[in-house]
Amino acid sequence: MKCGTCGYEFDPERGLECPRCGESFDCTGISCAECGACSGILPGLGGAGDGENT
């Protein structure tokens, strides 16, 4: 996913903190379409990947 602060593209599966600027993200602030960290484990959590948090 792309960090909203510094624009660095990082792998959210390693953690929802941008390794470059240290910005932390959580599921209330970003959509599943932007992140996809849990898509491999819980495919249904993101509302079939429509970008809406449930």
Binding site: K2, G4, C6, G7, F10, P19
Partner: protein, 628 residues
């Protein structure tokens, strides 16, 4: 390494680069170190170009605000090239965002670049109850660390004195990653760091020097996964460092956070912003336009200046014989060079423009203006722009020419094109807005809100049209808001003084030449012919033929056009339509030059012609609606 412009540092002893993340006060510190004030903006990423100044025999080079040394954007590539060539670096970090900013610091030290760290904005950290053990930070980093408050000049002398102590540790933990590189790679320590971070331009440069070093002809020396690992490792080091040197007290004062929340929520932010627009209207429209400008126009110029000039110059240059054309050009009642031109420039434009600069400066410095833009962010994404486009739009309210340059930071070429077109079409500059407010002040608050609504609708419709007409998709939102701050009078005054100086330097001669040209056209009877040829257009928008002169003035600068309307007797509806047309009309000459330079001649020509069509098209619709 790239074709970025490395500034010419002349015969300086050393090149010292100033590097830091966006919004850490780097530009202010640069000006303080260089003992010269350049216009300072509060938004993230304003420094797109580099600037050079002298500090005690060294050349100080300002670099674009970046979060790390890399090649993820044009700004980063420029910063990387300068940092690789610099003899030393002043790394500016902000005390309240140390955890974010120290990543770049550790990267610079990993690269072995001699560095002095300036921990800036210490006052805000103190107010927020954040304590930073500067000595411990210096010990752990192994380089000098100087606390500063650049806006007040605190710590700047100390920083200047310690520039010679810039250093870097001989070894840092990054070296464990160098094993991933081929043994025979010919690269400096800085380049090795960039190689293990999968920086492709560095890999290309190293490969060009020694084409056989990489295994199997892979595009880079390591994969991008490796970069995540290096970054993660450095981030862990930053976190440990911050844990060791930062302690937090009782937390920040609640006012800024509460106000921030209120401004950013649409339900509360919208009425607050509407109230703000109303306050701006009363401040400029009522106080400045109705009182100060009226006083200047009626008393100072009407009763004293113009009669004095007419009698003095009239006695030297007679209105007959050989001197008659000169007399006309200097003193005619339409746009005489020594009478009405001076009155417009100093009695109308200057007070309105200065007061608007003050307001815009206060909104910028306090961080309110970017929040106003964020409120409209959802709208921006619907017209094919990302959040970064907010910045040029805000800069455009100050000066469209400058804003066109800042469109460089707006994602793709497509978005830059949309942003430039919208700037040229529907973003009035502060000089123009000042005069427009002055004219609307005589009509009432409802006309001001009506004007804002019409311009926003045109902005939105034009954006949607461009978004659908141009091929491609928009990019995601990348933006960062500066903190809300109590505006400092000194900063606002400096900004206003610097902008006013620029305005007078640019607008003064241009207005004089324009007035001279218009007076000559008038004398030769050509102005009447131009006005007659524009009569179908001015008639279609319900305005008198002499509005043609406003159109001619608008070809040079839109604020001249607005100022030209002050001398016309128009009804309220006509004034309103005229001001909408003037706002949507072609960008000023300097903006056009910049648009052609930044985009291309075809785009510039299309925007110029399009402005005519939109301005008079919207004017015609309004004229019909208002029964003109």
């Amino acid at each position: 390494m790239t074709d970025a412009t490395i500034p010419d540092t002349g015969d300086a002893d050393r090149t010292v680069a100033l590097a830091g993340c966006p919004n850490v006060g780097k530009s202010v510190l640069f000006n303080e170190l260089a003992d010269a004030y350049v216009d300072v903006s509060n938004y993230p990423g304003t420094t797109v170009d580099t600037t050079v100044a002298r500090v005690d025999g060294d050349a100080l080079v300002d670099t674009p605000g970046v979060y790390g040394v890399g090649s993820f954007s044009e700004e980063e590539r420029v910063a990387r090239d300068i940092l690789l060539e610099a003899d030393a670096v002043v790394n500016v970090v902000a005390a309240p965002t140390l955890q974010r900013d120290l990543f770049l610091t550790l990267q610079l030290l990993d690269m072995g670049i001699p560095t002095v760290v300036a921990v800036n904005v210490m006052d805000e950290a103190e107010r927020d109850g954040i304590e930073i053990d500067v000595d411990a930070l210096a010990d752990r980093l192994g380089v000098p660390v100087v606390p500063t408050v650049a806006t007040e000049g605190r710590g700047v002398d100390d920083l200047r004195e310690r520039l010679d102590e810039a250093t870097a540790p001989d070894e840092t933990p990054i070296e464990e990653f160098f094993d991933a590189l081929p043994d025979d790679v010919e690269a400096s320590r800085a380049e090795q760091v960039l190689l293990v971070e999968a920086d492709e331009p560095t890999a290309e440069a190293v490969r060009e020097r020694a084409p056989v070093v990489a295994d199997g002809g892979a595009p880079g020396f390591v994969g991008e996964d490796h970069r995540d690992e290096v970054y993660g490792h450095r981030r862990d080091r930053v976190d440990a460092l911050v844990d060791a040197v930062v302690s937090e007290g009782d937390g920040p004062p609640a006012w800024s956070e509460r106000l921030d929340d209120l401004l950013l929520r649409p339900l509360t932010g919208t009425p607050l912003m509407v109230a703000l627009l109303g306050a701006v209207y009363y401040l400029i429209g009522d106080l400045v336009a109705q009182r100060l400008v009226d006083f200047l126009e009626i008393v100072v110029f009407g009763e004293y200046y113009v009669p004095f000039v007419e009698s003095t110059v009239g006695s030297v240059v007679p209105a007959a014989g050989w001197a008659e054309p000169l007399h006309f050009v200097l003193l005619n009642e339409n746009l005489g060079l020594l009478t009405v031109t001076v009155q417009y420039l100093l009695g109308v434009l200057l007070p309105l423009v200065v007061s608007f600069y003050l307001v815009i400066g206060a909104l910028e410095v306090s961080g309110v203006l970017p929040r106003l833009a964020v409120l409209t962010d959802r709208g921006l994404s619907r017209i094919g722009l990302n959040g970064r486009a907010i910045i040029p739009m805000i800069v455009g309210l100050g000066c469209v020419t400058m804003a066109v340059i800042t469109t460089r930071m707006v994602g793709s070429r497509r978005e830059r094109l949309i942003a430039t077109a919208l700037l040229g079409l529907a973003v009035p500059c502060s000089a123009q807005l000042g005069v427009i407010l002055g004219l609307l002040a005589g009509l009432g608050l409802v006309w001001w809100f009506g004007y804002v609504a019409v311009i926003l609708v045109v902005f939105g419709v034009a954006g949607v049209f461009l978004d659908r007409a141009l091929p491609g998709d928009g990019e995601g939102l990348i933006t960062e808001l500066p903190r809300l701050r109590r505006p400092r009078a000194g900063n606002i005054a400096s900004k206003t003084a610097s902008r006013t100086k620029m305005f007078l330097r640019e607008a003064g001669p241009l207005f004089a030449v324009t007035a001279l040209g218009v007076s000559l056209l008038d004398y030769l009877g050509l102005l009447a012919r131009i006005e007659q040829s524009l009569a179908p257009l001015t008639g279609a928008v319900g305005l008198p033929t002499d509005f043609g002169q406003v159109v001619v003035l608008g070809l040079i600068r839109r604020d001249f056009a607005a100022a030209g309307m002050t001398g016309m007797s128009l009804s309220a509806a006509q004034t309103f339509v005229g001001l909408v047309i003037v706002t949507l009309f072609v960008p000023c000459i300097l903006s056009m030059v910049m648009i052609v330079k930044e985009r291309d001649l075809t785009s510039g020509t299309l925007m110029w012609v399009g402005s005519w069509v939109v301005a008079f098209g919207v004017g015609a619709v309004l004229a019909v609606v208002m029964g003109l």
